[in-house]
Symmetry: D2
Subunit: 342 residues, 4 copies
């Protein structure tokens, strides 16, 4: 089969012809890929950043945002059948560790991350995953329409879901960054709360989209944006700040625009927080970390997607055009999410 | 009456003879002081640190940790009577703002902080406070025995209470600092959870006391303490870290000894956290701020104190010896808490 | 002033001319009534049901759902000023008991219930209440448009708010009764969750309205409705059942249509539950009681109302027509809520 | 191997010689039984009660409270090895349904209940179970000492754990029934909270034991016990009532001794609740169902057991004496828990 494999860092991955995966273990599932999201993280992988972090043997197939149809199942698989339309949780988990037993998939002590940690991902005709990664979809769903929810979507949803109890009517939630993850987060906030949504972004086009998706106020990140958020909240700051950027200063601005007793929730990364402990305790603010989400959260997000409450802007590329898709992304030419469709 | 008043920064406060306060407003309560805690914060006030932060007109009476007996009540006071033994919440609150209506006294939009913000405190024979600050005690309680719970105690209890649901059996809670607040926190943990308590302190004597109070393991803060806590937790770190120091590097060590999915809870202050956002998100850790506590938390803590589950080491000084008490504290000569007894 | 006073049970109340109330205590507030809801509970009061329950000395002014403008304030009132538009929490609370200190207004140990417990209510030109009952509104709000939210609204909102964390996407919430409270509950569910809303009522007109307000499915309560709800939920039952009727068998049906692990939440009353304890434990279901709500919940509900997310159908009557309004209500002629407008 | 099999209802089970189970599926685990608890439920099974409820084909091996050593493992088992000491969760679960993915083992859509639902239980030399049921123990643990925690223990722990956040200092928890489950519940309360524990039982010996285990007050269930609990709680009732009996009137007494705003939690069964919905709403009380517990809860309970915070009174019988053990239990001759030791 065709597969987009990375052979060398700082080089484009190439289309290889490799053998199809098969279900060997009892919980193995082979999925015929219907859509594989192209993500900024893929560019970081190509630059070698993740190799530095975790060591990733080359070559391997990229693609960590995948949806498709079940092609083959192992002997112990009972939750999906051949032919089912599925979206895949990005980290197949063991199901036996204490974190898995609590439903905390993102803290599994022995999960893998296909397409990122060196195991083969979904930019290919077929992908090997596990029963525990498969969320069954309405057969009418087109995998290419939802694939990007498998990673970008679940992460945004997870961050929003944790703060719902804090976002009762009358509160304000500031969202920093209305890009790939942020624009999903805004839709989740609008679907699940009646909080006042304030979106902060450098890009006026992104803010215009944010308004359509449910933002009540938008603020251009022009250096005066912390004050602007405070002005919109009676001088106090937002009850919750969801920071989908968290680099280049956004992180310290994000904490600064959080009101006393509020929480600054980090989803993006790249920057560094510097905060006197006096500022944390005198105002009793919290900082919340977020990574991916649970299996059930992906299933819940798909309910929102199937109900039309969360939608994605996507641009499809054939698998053969993977290099073009990556280059477009790198050049800022992709509006919404690029999706490879084998 | 006699009162310990600060007239100039960087000078000792002096014993003045001033007129007794009287109940003017409907909710005013005048308390005959039975014990007033002497706190490191008093030294900081004398150094002018709080004046910098909030502006504190001189002179005023020090003393923000107070207990005693009700001496006079305003016309609208229904929760205490003259003669009642009471401990005082440190920040009399308005009772009408949204924070007060949610029971979040520490976020009241118009509270005062007698003995700290420029209004007269409790290092005197009598103190003016409000009905909302009074927690009624068993008449047999000696105010001087519990006064230090009014501020140090409530703060430690508040921080512990917030994390109880996370400290189920099998978890580990690391406590940094077994001093004034920390040794109360350890007792609260032992009374309210079955978590494994690991206490970190530079001082072996403090660690010896910690063991008597319920610590399961103790670690000398000698530079290898982060690794020591990790070794005690299977290499992962503590589920919860309660940092009663949060300065001189303790704060970054505290975050470093927190396990993935865990929370670093800040009670002390003085230092500065520096954390890459990647470290927050890749492990999904949280940082929790803490300040004072609620009225009900002080009432709950008094239940623990009256049951003998939280006890304090105190050293009594007559009111006239206030300068001596402050000097002893500054010189590190006070074991436990110095209490002025008018 | 004119006031609608009940002089004898089983008789219509009459329009009396009584003296206007004045602010005596420091927290007293006199409100010029702008709208007073006429509620089925008023009919029950007239029948003597509440007298049996709590003893209610006659005569007194009816009216427990009130909104208007502040007319006079006591010396200690800081949260509202003369002229402010306000809606009134139905039970002025003491602010000092442990329940009040936790924000649990409905469990105040010494609250009153004007218009119901024998103290004068709001079917009059002026009403005496307390600072703690006043929720300040946008001056543009017409009291008669929102008065019914003061009791019917807060109760429905309170019940919904408690179960929001359980109503994640993919769950089903069954609502029994789409009348006065139920139709507010449906709007709250639609505004605050993405759950699937199934509404059960005997009245097809009420169901038609429910669909407009956000119901995803409607079920006529025709004896087969428990099975109908199960059919809509894969045979399992609803995750949450909100029972706004809870009499004439609705209560046992409500429990029966709750899925294993789910919760049956009671808002209506009049009937009696009979449940084998085996049925409770073998399926681990819960039963949740609800009464009124907190001050902050009323404030939150007003945010939804001002945003147009919760609206009420009302029919205005002049104060002089109180008997007509009560008779219309008793005869089933009131569509939505009858409001007396002095 | 020897196994205690039930061949006919209303007859004693007999010791059969049957073939040993073997690991067939990838997640199968065969355990050499070290202790199998003899439970009142076994008597109910023999009486045919569970056959009525779920249909249980005869003959099958009894025993649903088991601990022992791993004897054989399937190809996919990674969490235990041959030779490990283990206690077994009573309901091996699928690991793939939404309840399992949330850690809610007791709501698994396809679990089994060996020794109860017709599949072979642990009153035998060997037992077939699954990897997901195995909680690994300290090798020094004697299975016969802890076996009864596998069902009685987890159920009591689960009920206590759910209400911990409600049992802050100053609250009261009433425990009805200090027998098999109740005496574990009391120990869990004492280990995990500082609530005031009031134990109600008909048997003064059980109450004497309860005091040793941590009860602060004991009340003989003599018909005046509801009033006695109210007297101990200022006339209001207990914040939480844990009812380990829930039959013969205990259930309605239990609800009656619950304070306004409190919760009545049901663990026992056999009786029937009859409650006017007015009583539920006017006091805003809750009723909480409980069944077994999660895998992680069993693991947590074993931490308490290994720390000596929860201990069991047991009486060992050889497997051949199964009939004697069942007869002793039926005759009320077993003090603590009877354990079969193969």
């Amino acid at each position: 089969m065709k597969a987009v494999r990375l052979h060398e860092f700082h080089q484009m991955p190439v289309i290889d012809d490799i053998s199809e995966p098969t279900a060997q273990g009892p919980f193995d599932v082979v999925v015929k890929v219907g859509g594989a999201g192209v993500c900024r993280t893929d560019l970081h992988i190509m630059e070698g950043q993740w190799d530095t972090a975790m060591g990733t043997p080359l070559p391997y197939v990229l693609g960590h945002e995948n949806a498709g149809w079940v092609h083959e199942i192992g002997a112990g698989v009972t939750n999906v059948d051949v032919g089912d339309t599925v979206i895949l949780h990005p980290t197949p988990t063991c199901g036996l560790c204490r974190a898995c037993r609590a439903g905390q998939d993102m803290h599994c002590s022995s999960s893998t991350f296909p397409g990122l940690d060196g195991s083969d991902g979904g930019m290919a005709e077929y992908l090997l995953t596990s029963a525990r990664a498969c969320v069954k979809l309405d057969p009418a769903t087109r995998p290419e329409d939802v694939a990007a929810l498998a990673d970008a979507g679940i992460t945004a949803y997870h961050a929003v879901r944790k703060v719902i109890p804090l976002l009762y009517p009358g509160t304000t939630c500031a969202v920093i960054g209305a890009g790939g993850l942020g624009h999903i987060g805004i839709q989740c906030l609008a679907a699940l709360t009646a909080t006042t949504i304030v979106v902060v972004d450098r890009n006026p086009d992104a803010l215009a989209l944010a308004e359509k998706l449910g933002a009540n106020h938008t603020v251009v990140a022009d250096g005066k944006h912390v004050d602007a958020v405070k002005d919109l909240t009676g001088g106090k700051g937002a009850d919750i700040v969801l920071d989908f950027v968290a680099e280049e200063g956004a992180e310290n601005d994000g904490f600064a625009m959080t009101r006393p007793g509020g929480s600054y929730s980090v989803i993006g990364y790249g920057g560094s927080l510097t905060i006197p402990t006096l500022d944390i305790i005198s105002t009793e603010r919290n900082i919340i970390g977020n990574i991916v989400g649970t299996y059930n959260e992906l299933a819940e997000l798909m309910v929102l997607a199937e109900a039309g409450k969360v939608t994605l802007h996507t641009k499809a590329y054939p698998l053969d055009a993977a290099q073009e898709a990556l280059a477009d992304l790198d050049a800022g030419k992709v509006r919404g999410r690029a999706i490879l469709v084998p």
